[in-house]
Amino acid sequence: MNIVVLVKQVPDTAAERTLSEADHTLDRENADLVLDEINERAAEEALTLKEAVGAEVTVVSMGPDSALDAIRKVLAMGADRGIHICDDRLHGADVVTTAKVLAAAVRTVADVDLVLAGNATTDGQASAVPAVVADLLGLPQLTHARELTVDAGRVRVERETENGEATLDAPLPALVSVTEKINEPRYPSFKGIMAAKKKPVETVDLDDLFPDADADADEAGFRVTRTGVVEAVPRPARATGTRVTDDGSAGRQLVAYLIAQKLV
């Protein structure tokens, strides 16, 4: 089997995140960057399949130089090779461009059976990239999987969303996005970390992925974003509220507050 895992490097949610003054994109210089936690789980699914049925696992990430760390981490977990899409022109890419670029990178991998992704990133929270990549590649989307089974050329998924659960079924090749509930990702071993340093990582840019784009009049492959930020303002911190320590009457005090606020 050939499996591609799409992973993204994101600012650590535990740290404060800021938008750059200049262009309202994420201020990466001031952020702690980590491999998105849900992507570790996508990688874990790929590696479980590799152990069960044998597979070559390719990690793909689009991002600045630092994204190489995210790729190396998945290689250290046990993936075989990486593709790093790194191009300054991609700074500020929207969902559509991100998906087009990722789809183009997946196309460079021969005979892909399964594309794995996270169901949402902690920074963008678009939760749309995997479905769009599937559409562009003409693959069925089996998104938000809590459980994944691959058997006899088909893939089955237990999908969990706010509307309940569903079982999805499709033939391979297919794209699956996983939720944070699917598994507990492994830690890279010391041996894995050492081995990862020697695994091949190909760095590609837009010219590699879209060689014909220059000739193409509408340059669609290079449109970085179709949206623009008009204004970005930090939300004012909430005013400090009232604080009491319960002396046996806090419930009554709360009701008085709710009445004063016309909430009951």
């Binding site: 969902v95 559409d135 706010e162 509307n163 999805l168 179709r226 949206t227 303002v233 930090p234 604080r243």
Partner: protein, 321 residues
Amino acid sequence: MPDVLVLVDHDGERVHKCTYELLTAARRLGDPAAVVVGTPGTAARLEEPLARHGATSVYAAESTEADEFLATPAVDALELAVREVSPAAVLVSATTDGKEVAGRLAARLDGGLLIDAVDVDSCGVATQVVFGGSYTVRSQVTHGLPVITLRPGSFEPEERPVEARARQLALPPVDRVASARVTARRAALAGDRPELTEATVVVSGGRGVGGADGFKVVEQLADALGGAVGASRAAVDAGYYPHQYQVGQTGKSVSPQLYIALGISGAIQHLAGMQTSKTILAVNKDPEAPILGLADYAVVGDLFAVAPQLAQEVAARRAVG
């Protein structure tokens, strides 16, 4: 006025409230045209309430397999509708399915996607709250057709009865190699309480509730206030309460008038889903819990003492008033 396409969110019998919100928002941009994707007969059933909420046309994109495949029929239907009416914008609810449908549509049309807007003005400028509520961003589509997903609960739906024209869209057969089939569905059980994202009051419990039994205290307070029950991920993971009630980054985003957090520490991923609530109350026995710093009214104390007393006081007041 140009048409504005609205994808109807429904269960076959009933239009979901978030669709009425879309119709209300759509009127700012043009004439709302509703697109119903479903099995034959669905659009006819839903036409009356859609027209009552201002849909000037109702497009039926119907086929026997429309509800059998994930997302693809809706993307195909919207693509057809766009080609037919050349709308000013397409509005879709920012639900899990809605965001995927909107993204795929934008990619097919090379349009601009604005995700999870909480407001949109008559120029098509959308307001979004990003990074778990730490920034408010206003953005606009600069190239192609605007495809906007609107967070449920952001608009007050208004009735605006009109005559709706019934139209048909011929859905192509689903490509079985490129689509995932839904072989079983287990709908989230809707209880008697209001829907979490639609409720004006949400009472949530965390790990501090200590167990499934403890959630009775949370439910009693929610019922006294006529609110919905929510839960932190720690409470869901521990099996105290079902997943569909999870509030936060990987659960639902809520923005009620009143949010009450019981035994929740206030991790950033939880805050991401409730920080825009108008008024926040928190009860936690740890004076250092971050949620207390965020609350408009913070009680350092045992939730098992405070919540029942509050529920009782509210019930008593309701009985009098």
